[in-house]
């Protein structure tokens, strides 16, 4: 796509990766974009680049606005290669001696990605530089949001925040702005991004939102490095981040399970029935081998109850379930109550092992869980229903 002038003399020059479906293990059914921004004025500024294989397209977009040699400074908000991969060719086109602005950790991390002799300018938080034409850039360090090098760049007079990965979504469309999108679809992609990339840093995000609030920055436009730009009401995504960073839960339960001969699945169905009877508004049974871990995490993020079911396979938890649990553990969801269940043949360790995994994640485990040998009978399914019912009542703070 051609560059779009998103504000006077500010151009979005990034690229669309329409057909990417697996972003380092995160499913991206709608593709993604690598956004980059060009500010034209007395000092021409390029903010971020794109994945290496899209660099030619980025250069062509830049050329539609100016000769790359006319770019005076480059800013790298984040070292991850979907934003820095284009730097070697871009710096060659712009001029190797041109200043490349980044955070202190950015300088360290760029040096460990690229063995180049760039003119790195380390900036600290709140540092400002004038770029002429009555414009000022301010840098805001955002360590661990989501890498040690992450920072924001803020175009002060225009109130435009170039927020790197924060507030982004893996969504590639011909749309550029939030007002061109269906808001619930946009927020779904933003939520999935938060659940899979930013969730472990929620405490830092809460702090950052507070700090940005205290700085009193006007935000006319929030430009993430992936997906759609927020301009209609950036407050929508700021409010959503506020909720997500506090890990607010809903009256919602997720039942994730795997099954070999449908026994654990029968248990899951009975538990789902109990949860529904308890008045849980959103109950989501998910068979892990038929769903992507990144979609499962999106559902788990705002659920109060997490039920996990696994058969015992060779004395272990089923491997597809361990995939999800390992992934979930790293993302550090908080404030959940959980219980385990599963069918087994002879030894039946899975429920005990699941309990250990769930308590290691800091989930509250009010019950020991249920394990059933081979195929459940009616009375045993009634026990599963009861477990679902009690967990559902607890989720709502009701008496069990």
């Amino acid at each position: 796509m051609r560059p779009v002038e998103i504000a006077p003399n500010v151009f979005e020059v990034g690229v669309r990766d329409w057909n990417i479906r697996d972003f380092h293990g995160y499913s991206t059914p709608a593709g993604t974009t690598y956004n980059a921004f060009l500010i034209r004025g007395e000092t021409n500024v390029l903010i971020d680049t794109v994945k290496a294989e899209f660099t030619e397209e980025l250069l062509s977009n830049i050329r539609a606005v100016m000769d790359p040699k006319d770019i005076d400074i480059v800013v790298s908000n984040h070292t991850e290669m979907d934003h820095s991969g284009g730097l070697p060719r871009i710096m060659a086109a712009v001029g190797q001696d041109k200043p490349l602005y980044c955070s202190k950790m950015g300088a360290k991390n760029l040096a460990r990605h690229f063995r180049e002799n760039w003119n790195l300018k380390e900036v600290s938080s709140s540092e400002e530089i004038s770029i002429g034409s009555g414009r000022t850039l301010m840098f805001i360090e955002t360590r661990m949001l989501h890498w040690p090098d992450s920072m924001f760049t803020y175009l002060k007079e225009d109130g435009i925040l170039f927020s790197s990965d924060a507030f982004g979504q893996h969504y590639a469309g011909s749309e550029i702005f939030d007002d061109q999108m269906d808001m619930s679809e946009l927020l779904f992609h933003a939520k999935k991004y938060y659940a899979n990339i930013l969730l472990p840093f929620s405490a830092l995000i809460a702090k950052l939102l507070k700090a940005v609030g205290e700085m009193g920055l006007k935000l006319n436009m929030v430009c993430p490095d992936h997906g759609i730009i927020w301009r209609k009401d950036p407050g929508v995504i700021l409010d959503a981040y506020d909720r997500w960073s506090r890990q607010e839960t809903q009256n919602k339960a997720v039942v994730i399970y795997d099954t070999m001969w449908h026994s654990t699945e029968m248990m899951a169905d009975a538990i789902v029935g109990g949860l529904v009877e308890a008045g849980v508004e959103q109950v989501r049974p998910i068979s892990v081998r038929r769903s992507h871990r990144s979609d499962i995490m999106t559902e788990i993020m705002d659920a109060k109850v997490v039920m996990v079911g696994s058969p015992t396979l060779n004395n272990q938890i089923f491997p597809a379930l361990m995939d999800v649990l390992t992934y979930m553990k790293g993302l550090k969801p908080q404030g959940k109550i959980a219980a385990a269940f599963g069918s087994y043949g002879w030894s039946g360790e899975a429920v005990k092992l699941l309990n250990a995994e769930l308590s290691a994640m800091g989930f509250e485990l009010p019950e020991e869980g249920i394990r059933i040998q081979y195929v459940p009978e009616r009375d045993q399914l009634t026990l599963c229903h009861g477990l679902g019912l009690r967990m559902g009542l607890r989720a709502q703070g009701r008496e069990v």
Binding site: R143, M144, P148, A203, L204, G362
Partner: protein, 51 residues
């Protein structure tokens, strides 16, 4: 004395401890177990320096 993580900037405040890591308030940085890690980024103790 407070210590700051060189990798992510998280600050260890002995007055607060680290509830997630099972560290009680009032625990000095020097008294943290050797296998204690930064609750934000997982860095080890030797990545911390006095704030």
């Amino acid at each position: 004395m407070k210590y700051v993580c060189e990798l992510c900037g998280w600050e260890y405040d002995p007055a607060e401890g680290d509830s997630e890591g099972g560290i009680a308030p009032g625990t000095a940085f020097a008294d943290l177990p050797d296998d204690w890690t930064c609750p934000v980024c997982g860095a080890e103790k030797d990545q911390f320096s006095p704030a």
